[in-house]
């Protein structure tokens, strides 16, 4: 369960604005956090985002495969991303690094910037405490839940043993 202040972005937020390629030459967490979202909102990386919740529209994280994108958002202190939909590589990358994301078109539409929102990852329940609205995010398939529970793909692989041929 997390609770935080909402920062809202639009549709097709791409990896080039989440973390521009000109900063990928230094993939340290400090550098990633320092430039996260700066091409869309220069003020964003200057603030403390510990516990904040990012809300985006359709096709969040489209573009490049750079894992640096979810890493940079996580490095800012953001606790999770809620979006109407996610681009597939961003979706995989977030799960693989153990960063929570929730797909919920209604929540992405209704929640406003600055609202206080709480999220229960177990049930997928999203509550906008500012307006009292409640939303339900799509549940992850069991296999994905296992990866999330393990804290990411590498931990999952270590726990399960490598080169498994079944799920």
């Amino acid at each position: 369960m997390v609770k935080g202040r909402v920062f809202k972005f639009g549709d097709d937020v791409n990896t080039d604005v989440i973390i521009p390629a000109r900063y990928l030459n230094d993939p340290s967490l400090e550098n990633m956090a320092k430039h996260c979202m700066e091409d869309i909102d220069p003020e964003f990386p200057k603030q403390d985002h510990t516990g904040d919740i990012m809300v985006g529209g359709w096709n969040f994280g489209c573009g490049s495969s750079r894992e640096h994108a979810p890493v940079s958002i996580k490095a800012c202190g953001v606790s999770c991303v809620i979006a109407a939909s996610f681009a597939r590589i961003f979706y995989r990358n977030a799960i693989n690094i153990g960063f929570p994301i929730l797909e919920c078109p209604e929540a992405a539409e209704e929640i406003a910037a600055g609202d206080t929102v709480s999220v229960d990852f177990e049930t997928g329940t999203i509550i906008d405490e500012t307006t009292g609205q409640e939303f339900k995010a799509a549940a992850f398939p069991p296999f994905i839940q296992k990866i999330i529970k393990a804290g990411g793909l590498i931990n999952y692989r270590k726990e399960e043993g490598k080169a498994k041929n079944e799920l």
Partner: protein, 420 residues
């Protein structure tokens, strides 16, 4: 219910008779590919997790192409880390400055991708090899590191969109016009999580270099992969490059497609994507005369031999217009050499173009043609997102090599017919 071409390839790599869309499976991999930006991150993850050896040193390729030749101290550190990892693991397929090419041009050229194979790459344009009838898709660095260890990766079996190509493309219409038109039709998330399977009599009218360009930009429609049937042209291309056995797959007659899109190649016009989404398409006629400052011809999308030849055809006995910078990047060393042998390099230089060594540089604002505020580039690359090639107030128009070269000569956005 029958399976799509992609689903059949996945089933074969899982070792089962059939798979269904939406199912989560773990599939065997034929190649894991990465570059100088993504490999170092994967190497850290791999080593910190306590993994020792990659699953197969012949099936892991590292290609240093993005910030190379290294643009600054930090990028030199990244390349050094990737280089050390490749040496330590004794990788067969490691490509460094002097031998390198842009990964998605180099992998097919070196025969590292074959029909029916599954290839993942820590780069979103890995979907390029679908042109060869392979299932290939982009992943992140953690996915890659886990696959280096195991030789397997998890996939959600994709549903598919069928794109039926008919007709024959006109004189200056190429693969880039086809894919930009398609993205304009279905949108940047029109194929989200899905395969785009190309089929129809029009396929045989497309050269392999056109097919690479089309499959390359499947990701710009949100696609998991783009894939072409294997035909005479495919077999001709892989002849002499792929020595190992491979398997050709075809979709079942009763395969299920969520959507069918028809494109008559005969009716296609030169198409561009205006700032700042690939789906913001217009025909060249509609935007002719738009101001530009720079032209870039190259990248994993359009840096192949056909692209160089078309550009040369337009630049022959012509000059880049005053006030325009034109930057050409052949995608691999072999293409670079062939440009020299065919006299293309001379045409480019005489026309006033700068010709660079193979690199991804300009496409993602790395180096070799970064823009400041207020500038606009017409580029044969694949993304025109805000800030992609430099300052957030610079702009990118995506186009084919024919349109980009014609625009360089005209000094504004123009098609090849406009300068004849």
């Amino acid at each position: 219910m029958g399976m799509t071409m992609t689903q059949k390839i996945i089933a074969a790599h899982v070792g089962v008779e059939s798979v269904k869309a939406g199912e989560l499976v773990e599939a065997r991999l034929d190649l894991c590919m990465s570059n100088d930006i993504t490999s170092p991150v994967s190497a850290d993850i791999f080593e910190q997790a306590g993994f020792d050896k990659v699953f197969n040193k012949d099936k892991v390729a590292i290609i240093l192409d993005h910030y190379t030749p290294c643009k600054d101290i930090d990028s030199a550190r990244l390349s050094k880390k990737a280089r050390q990892f490749a040496r330590k693991q004794g990788l067969t397929h490691f490509y460094d400055t002097g031998n390198v090419g842009i990964e998605h041009a180099l992998v097919p050229e070196k025969g590292l991708a074959a029909p029916g194979e599954i290839i993942i790459g820590a780069d979103s344009h890995t979907c390029t090899y679908g042109a060869l009838g392979a299932f290939s898709t982009g992943v992140g660095s953690t996915d890659l590191a886990a696959s280096w260890a195991s030789g397997y990766s998890w996939f959600k079996v994709p549903s598919a969109i069928k794109v039926v190509l008919t007709g024959k493309p006109g004189r200056w219409v190429t693969g880039k016009d086809v894919i930009l038109h398609l993205i304009g039709e279905i949108g940047v998330d029109g194929a989200l999580y899905k395969s785009i399977e190309f089929t129809g009599p029009g396929v045989s009218e497309l050269e392999m270099d056109d097919r690479f360009t089309i499959a390359n930009m499947a990701i710009e429609a949100g696609g998991k992969n783009g894939i072409f049937p294997v035909d005479v042209k495919t077999l001709e291309y892989i002849s002499g490059r792929v020595e190992r056995p491979y398997q050709v797959f075809e979709p079942d007659e009763d395969a299920e497609y969520e959507r069918v899109v028809e494109i008559n190649l005969s009716e296609l016009k030169n198409t561009v994507s205006m700032p700042s989404l690939p789906s913001n398409t217009r025909t060249v006629d509609e935007v002719k005369g738009t101001h530009i400052d720079q032209v870039v011809i190259g990248s994993c999308t359009n840096g192949r031999m056909k692209d160089m030849r078309i550009a040369a055809e337009i630049f022959e006995n012509r000059r880049v217009a005053d006030g325009i910078r034109c930057n050409i990047v052949p995608a691999t060393q072999a293409i670079y050499l062939q440009c020299i042998e065919e006299g293309i390099m001379e045409i480019f230089v005489k026309a006033g173009c700068a010709v660079n060594t193979p690199s991804c540089g300009p496409c993602m604002g790395g180096h070799m043609g970064v823009m400041c505020e207020g500038e606009r580039t017409i580029s044969t690359t694949n993304r025109n997102f805000v800030g992609r090639m430099g300052h957030v107030e610079s702009e990118i128009i995506l186009a084919s090599p024919a349109v980009a070269a014609a625009s360089a000569v005209a000094g504004f956005v123009a098609g090849p017919e406009d300068i004849e």
